[in-house]
Amino acid sequence: MKKPFTAADLILLGVLVTLALSSYFALDSISGDGDVVIVEVQDRVVQKLKLNEPGDFAIQGIEGQVHLKVDNGRVAIVEADCPNRICVRTGWRFRSGEVIVCVPNKTIVRILGALKNPEAVTG
Protein backbone atom coordinates (compact mmCIF):
# COMPACT_ATOMS: atom_id res chain seq x y z
CA MET A 1 0.00 0.00 0.00
CA LYS A 2 2.58 2.58 -1.04
CA LYS A 3 0.27 4.83 -2.97
CA PRO A 4 -2.98 5.42 -1.10
CA PHE A 5 -4.78 6.69 -4.21
CA THR A 6 -4.57 5.69 -7.85
CA ALA A 7 -5.64 8.02 -10.65
CA ALA A 8 -8.71 5.85 -11.20
CA ASP A 9 -9.64 6.29 -7.55
CA LEU A 10 -9.60 10.04 -7.87
CA ILE A 11 -11.70 9.97 -11.03
CA LEU A 12 -14.14 7.62 -9.31
CA LEU A 13 -14.31 9.87 -6.27
CA GLY A 14 -14.99 12.85 -8.52
CA VAL A 15 -17.78 11.00 -10.31
CA LEU A 16 -19.38 9.91 -7.04
CA VAL A 17 -19.23 13.37 -5.49
CA THR A 18 -20.78 14.80 -8.65
CA LEU A 19 -23.49 12.16 -8.51
CA ALA A 20 -24.23 12.91 -4.87
CA LEU A 21 -24.34 16.66 -5.46
CA SER A 22 -26.51 16.32 -8.55
CA SER A 23 -28.92 14.02 -6.72
CA TYR A 24 -29.25 16.73 -4.13
CA PHE A 25 -29.92 19.49 -6.65
CA ALA A 26 -32.16 17.30 -8.80
CA LEU A 27 -34.36 16.48 -5.82
CA ASP A 28 -34.33 20.08 -4.80
CA SER A 29 -35.69 21.08 -8.20
CA ILE A 30 -38.36 18.35 -8.61
CA SER A 31 -39.66 18.17 -5.10
CA GLY A 32 -40.59 21.80 -5.03
CA ASP A 33 -41.92 23.83 -2.19
CA GLY A 34 -45.10 22.82 -0.46
CA ASP A 35 -48.31 24.81 -0.62
CA VAL A 36 -50.53 23.49 2.12
CA VAL A 37 -49.96 22.47 5.71
CA ILE A 38 -52.20 19.89 7.30
CA VAL A 39 -52.20 19.49 11.05
CA GLU A 40 -53.43 16.21 12.49
CA VAL A 41 -53.98 15.34 16.12
CA GLN A 42 -54.60 11.65 16.79
CA ASP A 43 -55.21 11.03 13.08
CA ARG A 44 -57.86 13.74 12.86
CA VAL A 45 -57.23 16.75 10.69
CA VAL A 46 -57.64 19.72 12.98
CA GLN A 47 -56.30 22.51 10.84
CA LYS A 48 -55.36 23.36 7.25
CA LEU A 49 -52.99 26.22 6.65
CA LYS A 50 -51.40 27.81 3.62
CA LEU A 51 -47.65 28.22 3.55
CA ASN A 52 -47.95 31.61 1.88
CA GLU A 53 -50.13 33.03 4.62
CA PRO A 54 -47.97 33.82 7.65
CA GLY A 55 -49.35 33.53 11.13
CA ASP A 56 -49.19 31.95 14.56
CA PHE A 57 -51.43 29.05 15.44
CA ALA A 58 -52.10 27.21 18.66
CA ILE A 59 -53.10 23.57 18.33
CA GLN A 60 -54.54 21.60 21.21
CA GLY A 61 -52.51 18.41 21.45
CA ILE A 62 -52.82 15.47 23.83
CA GLU A 63 -50.35 16.74 26.42
CA GLY A 64 -50.93 20.42 25.92
CA GLN A 65 -50.50 23.21 23.43
CA VAL A 66 -48.48 23.02 20.25
CA HIS A 67 -47.57 26.36 18.74
CA LEU A 68 -47.13 26.52 15.00
CA LYS A 69 -45.66 29.36 13.09
CA VAL A 70 -45.95 29.90 9.36
CA ASP A 71 -43.57 32.45 7.96
CA ASN A 72 -41.78 33.08 4.70
CA GLY A 73 -43.26 29.98 3.03
CA ARG A 74 -42.07 27.74 5.85
CA VAL A 75 -43.62 26.13 8.87
CA ALA A 76 -42.22 25.20 12.27
CA ILE A 77 -43.38 24.10 15.68
CA VAL A 78 -41.92 26.89 17.77
CA GLU A 79 -43.20 25.83 21.16
CA ALA A 80 -44.82 22.71 22.52
CA ASP A 81 -45.74 21.07 25.78
CA CYS A 82 -43.64 17.96 25.44
CA PRO A 83 -40.56 16.65 27.22
CA ASN A 84 -38.03 16.14 24.43
CA ARG A 85 -39.09 18.91 22.11
CA ILE A 86 -37.93 16.97 19.09
CA CYS A 87 -40.67 18.68 17.12
CA VAL A 88 -39.28 22.10 17.98
CA ARG A 89 -35.76 21.00 17.09
CA THR A 90 -37.01 19.78 13.71
CA GLY A 91 -37.01 23.45 12.80
CA TRP A 92 -38.38 25.11 9.71
CA ARG A 93 -39.72 22.89 6.93
CA PHE A 94 -41.04 23.92 3.55
CA ARG A 95 -40.80 21.03 1.06
CA SER A 96 -43.82 19.09 0.02
CA GLY A 97 -43.75 15.69 1.67
CA GLU A 98 -41.92 16.87 4.76
CA VAL A 99 -43.48 16.28 8.15
CA ILE A 100 -42.96 17.56 11.65
CA VAL A 101 -44.06 15.17 14.35
CA CYS A 102 -44.71 15.75 18.02
CA VAL A 103 -45.14 12.24 19.40
CA PRO A 104 -46.29 13.05 22.96
CA ASN A 105 -48.97 15.34 21.58
CA LYS A 106 -49.84 12.91 18.78
CA THR A 107 -49.58 15.83 16.45
CA ILE A 108 -48.41 15.55 12.86
CA VAL A 109 -47.75 18.55 10.67
CA ARG A 110 -47.66 17.56 6.99
CA ILE A 111 -46.64 19.73 4.11
CA LEU A 112 -48.43 18.93 0.89
CA GLY A 113 -47.76 20.21 -2.57
CA ALA A 114 -46.09 19.35 -5.84
CA LEU A 115 -45.02 15.79 -5.07
CA LYS A 116 -47.70 13.23 -5.92
CA ASN A 117 -47.26 10.99 -2.91
CA PRO A 118 -46.24 13.01 0.09
CA GLU A 119 -46.88 10.26 2.64
CA ALA A 120 -44.23 8.26 4.42
CA VAL A 121 -41.20 10.48 4.07
CA THR A 122 -40.35 9.74 7.64
CA GLY A 123 -41.86 7.40 10.15
Binding site: P4, T6, A8, L16, V17, A20, S23, L27, A120
Partner: protein
Protein backbone atom coordinates in the same frame (compact mmCIF):
# COMPACT_ATOMS: atom_id res chain seq x y z
CA UNK B 1 -1.95 -23.40 3.13
CA UNK B 2 -5.58 -24.44 3.39
CA UNK B 3 -5.42 -24.10 7.18
CA UNK B 4 -3.87 -20.66 6.88
CA UNK B 5 -6.64 -19.58 4.55
CA UNK B 6 -9.27 -20.93 6.90
CA UNK B 7 -7.67 -19.16 9.86
CA UNK B 8 -7.57 -15.86 8.02
CA UNK B 9 -11.22 -16.20 7.00
CA UNK B 10 -12.18 -16.97 10.61
CA UNK B 11 -10.14 -14.02 11.87
CA UNK B 12 -11.67 -11.61 9.37
CA UNK B 13 -15.18 -12.90 10.04
CA UNK B 14 -14.60 -12.37 13.77
CA UNK B 15 -13.25 -8.85 13.23
CA UNK B 16 -16.17 -8.05 10.93
CA UNK B 17 -18.69 -9.36 13.45
CA UNK B 18 -17.12 -7.35 16.26
CA UNK B 19 -17.16 -4.19 14.15
CA UNK B 20 -20.77 -4.85 13.14
CA UNK B 21 -21.82 -5.13 16.78
CA UNK B 22 -19.70 -2.17 17.87
CA UNK B 23 -21.18 -0.01 15.16
CA UNK B 24 -24.70 -0.78 16.23
CA UNK B 25 -23.94 1.15 19.43
CA UNK B 26 -22.71 4.26 17.64
CA UNK B 27 -25.45 6.87 17.70
CA UNK B 28 -26.37 8.24 14.30
CA UNK B 29 -28.94 10.90 13.37
CA UNK B 30 -30.95 8.20 11.60
CA UNK B 31 -30.85 4.52 12.45
CA UNK B 32 -30.08 3.33 8.93
CA UNK B 33 -27.06 5.60 8.49
CA UNK B 34 -23.81 3.75 8.99
CA UNK B 35 -20.20 4.09 8.05
CA UNK B 36 -20.13 0.34 7.50
CA UNK B 37 -16.74 -0.33 9.09
CA UNK B 38 -17.51 -4.04 9.26
CA UNK B 39 -17.24 -4.05 5.50
CA UNK B 40 -13.49 -3.46 5.89
CA UNK B 41 -13.07 -7.11 6.82
CA UNK B 42 -14.81 -8.17 3.61
CA UNK B 43 -12.59 -5.89 1.55
CA UNK B 44 -9.49 -7.31 3.23
CA UNK B 45 -10.74 -10.83 2.49
CA UNK B 46 -11.14 -9.91 -1.17
CA UNK B 47 -7.64 -8.50 -1.42
CA UNK B 48 -5.84 -11.24 0.49
CA UNK B 49 -7.85 -14.34 -0.42
CA UNK B 50 -10.17 -13.54 -3.30
CA UNK B 51 -13.91 -13.37 -4.03
CA UNK B 52 -15.12 -16.62 -2.46
CA UNK B 53 -13.42 -15.82 0.85
CA UNK B 54 -15.03 -12.39 0.70
CA UNK B 55 -18.50 -13.86 0.30
CA UNK B 56 -17.87 -16.20 3.22
CA UNK B 57 -16.64 -13.41 5.49
CA UNK B 58 -19.54 -11.16 4.47
CA UNK B 59 -22.13 -13.86 5.07
CA UNK B 60 -20.71 -14.86 8.45
CA UNK B 61 -20.30 -11.34 9.79
CA UNK B 62 -23.83 -10.32 8.87
CA UNK B 63 -25.51 -13.43 10.25
CA UNK B 64 -23.35 -13.62 13.40
CA UNK B 65 -23.55 -9.87 13.98
CA UNK B 66 -27.34 -9.85 13.58
CA UNK B 67 -27.71 -12.73 16.03
CA UNK B 68 -25.64 -10.81 18.60
CA UNK B 69 -27.50 -7.55 18.04
CA UNK B 70 -30.84 -9.33 18.01
CA UNK B 71 -31.95 -8.22 14.56
CA UNK B 72 -31.81 -11.58 12.78
CA UNK B 73 -34.47 -11.82 10.02
CA UNK B 74 -35.77 -8.34 10.84
CA UNK B 75 -35.92 -5.59 8.21
CA UNK B 76 -32.43 -4.39 9.12
CA UNK B 77 -31.06 -7.87 8.60
CA UNK B 78 -32.72 -8.23 5.20
CA UNK B 79 -31.24 -4.90 4.16
CA UNK B 80 -27.74 -5.69 5.46
CA UNK B 81 -27.83 -9.10 3.88
CA UNK B 82 -29.01 -8.13 0.42
CA UNK B 83 -26.91 -5.00 0.22
CA UNK B 84 -23.85 -6.66 1.77
CA UNK B 85 -23.91 -9.59 -0.63
CA UNK B 86 -24.64 -7.52 -3.74
CA UNK B 87 -21.90 -5.05 -2.92
CA UNK B 88 -19.47 -7.91 -2.22
CA UNK B 89 -20.33 -9.43 -5.61
CA UNK B 90 -19.82 -6.13 -7.40
CA UNK B 91 -16.52 -5.46 -5.60
CA UNK B 92 -15.29 -8.94 -6.57
CA UNK B 93 -16.29 -8.37 -10.19
CA UNK B 94 -14.65 -4.95 -10.30
CA UNK B 95 -11.46 -6.31 -8.75
CA UNK B 96 -11.40 -9.21 -11.21
CA UNK B 97 -12.10 -7.07 -14.27
CA UNK B 98 -9.91 -4.07 -13.52
CA UNK B 99 -7.00 -5.65 -11.65
CA UNK B 100 -4.95 -2.93 -10.02
CA UNK B 101 -6.70 0.01 -11.64
CA UNK B 102 -8.36 0.96 -8.37
CA UNK B 103 -6.71 0.88 -4.96
CA UNK B 104 -8.46 -0.48 -1.89
CA UNK B 105 -10.10 2.87 -1.45
CA UNK B 106 -11.57 2.83 -4.94
CA UNK B 107 -12.88 -0.70 -4.48
CA UNK B 108 -14.46 0.15 -1.17
CA UNK B 109 -16.02 3.34 -2.56
CA UNK B 110 -17.67 1.27 -5.29
CA UNK B 111 -18.77 -1.21 -2.63
CA UNK B 112 -20.37 1.37 -0.38
CA UNK B 113 -22.19 3.01 -3.28
CA UNK B 114 -23.57 -0.31 -4.48
CA UNK B 115 -24.54 -1.02 -0.88
CA UNK B 116 -26.59 2.17 -0.63
CA UNK B 117 -28.23 1.71 -4.02
CA UNK B 118 -29.20 -1.89 -3.28
CA UNK B 119 -30.55 -0.84 0.06
CA UNK B 120 -32.76 1.88 -1.31
CA UNK B 121 -34.05 -0.48 -4.03
CA UNK B 122 -34.90 -3.13 -1.45
CA UNK B 123 -36.59 -0.59 0.80
CA UNK B 124 -38.58 0.64 -2.17
CA UNK B 125 -39.60 -2.84 -3.32
CA UNK B 126 -40.35 -4.36 0.09
CA UNK B 127 -41.29 -1.65 2.51
CA UNK B 128 -41.96 1.88 1.36
CA UNK B 129 -43.46 1.87 -2.12
CA UNK B 130 -43.30 5.61 -2.38
CA UNK B 131 -40.97 7.83 -4.39
CA UNK B 132 -40.57 10.00 -1.33
CA UNK B 133 -37.74 7.79 -0.09
CA UNK B 134 -35.73 9.43 -2.85
CA UNK B 135 -35.38 12.31 -0.43
CA UNK B 136 -32.87 10.17 1.41
CA UNK B 137 -30.62 9.68 -1.62
CA UNK B 138 -28.31 12.69 -1.21
CA UNK B 139 -27.78 11.94 2.47
CA UNK B 140 -27.13 8.27 1.72
CA UNK B 141 -24.76 9.09 -1.14
CA UNK B 142 -22.66 11.41 0.98
CA UNK B 143 -22.56 8.88 3.80
CA UNK B 144 -21.51 6.26 1.25
CA UNK B 145 -18.63 8.42 0.07
CA UNK B 146 -17.44 9.07 3.62
CA UNK B 147 -17.94 5.42 4.56
CA UNK B 148 -16.17 4.17 1.42
CA UNK B 149 -13.14 6.35 2.11
CA UNK B 150 -12.90 5.35 5.76
CA UNK B 151 -13.46 1.66 5.07
CA UNK B 152 -10.95 1.66 2.22
CA UNK B 153 -8.32 3.34 4.35
CA UNK B 154 -8.88 0.96 7.26
CA UNK B 155 -8.85 -2.06 4.93
CA UNK B 156 -5.59 -0.87 3.39
CA UNK B 157 -4.01 -0.56 6.83
CA UNK B 158 -5.30 -3.99 7.77
CA UNK B 159 -3.84 -5.58 4.64
CA UNK B 160 -0.49 -3.91 5.29
CA UNK B 161 -0.51 -5.06 8.90
CA UNK B 162 -1.44 -8.62 8.02
CA UNK B 163 1.26 -8.79 5.40
CA UNK B 164 3.97 -7.65 7.81
CA UNK B 165 2.72 -9.99 10.51
CA UNK B 166 3.00 -12.92 8.13
CA UNK B 167 6.57 -12.07 7.25
CA UNK B 168 7.66 -12.46 10.84
Amino acid sequence: MQAGRLTTIALLAAVGTALFVAESYVPMPMPFLKIGLANASSVVALLLLGPSAMMTVTGIRIVAGSILVGSLFGPGFILSCSAGLVSALVMSAVKKLTGNLFSVIGISLIGSFVHVITQILVVFLLYVKSPSILYLLPLLFFTAIAGGLVVGWVAGRMVGLMNTLRLH
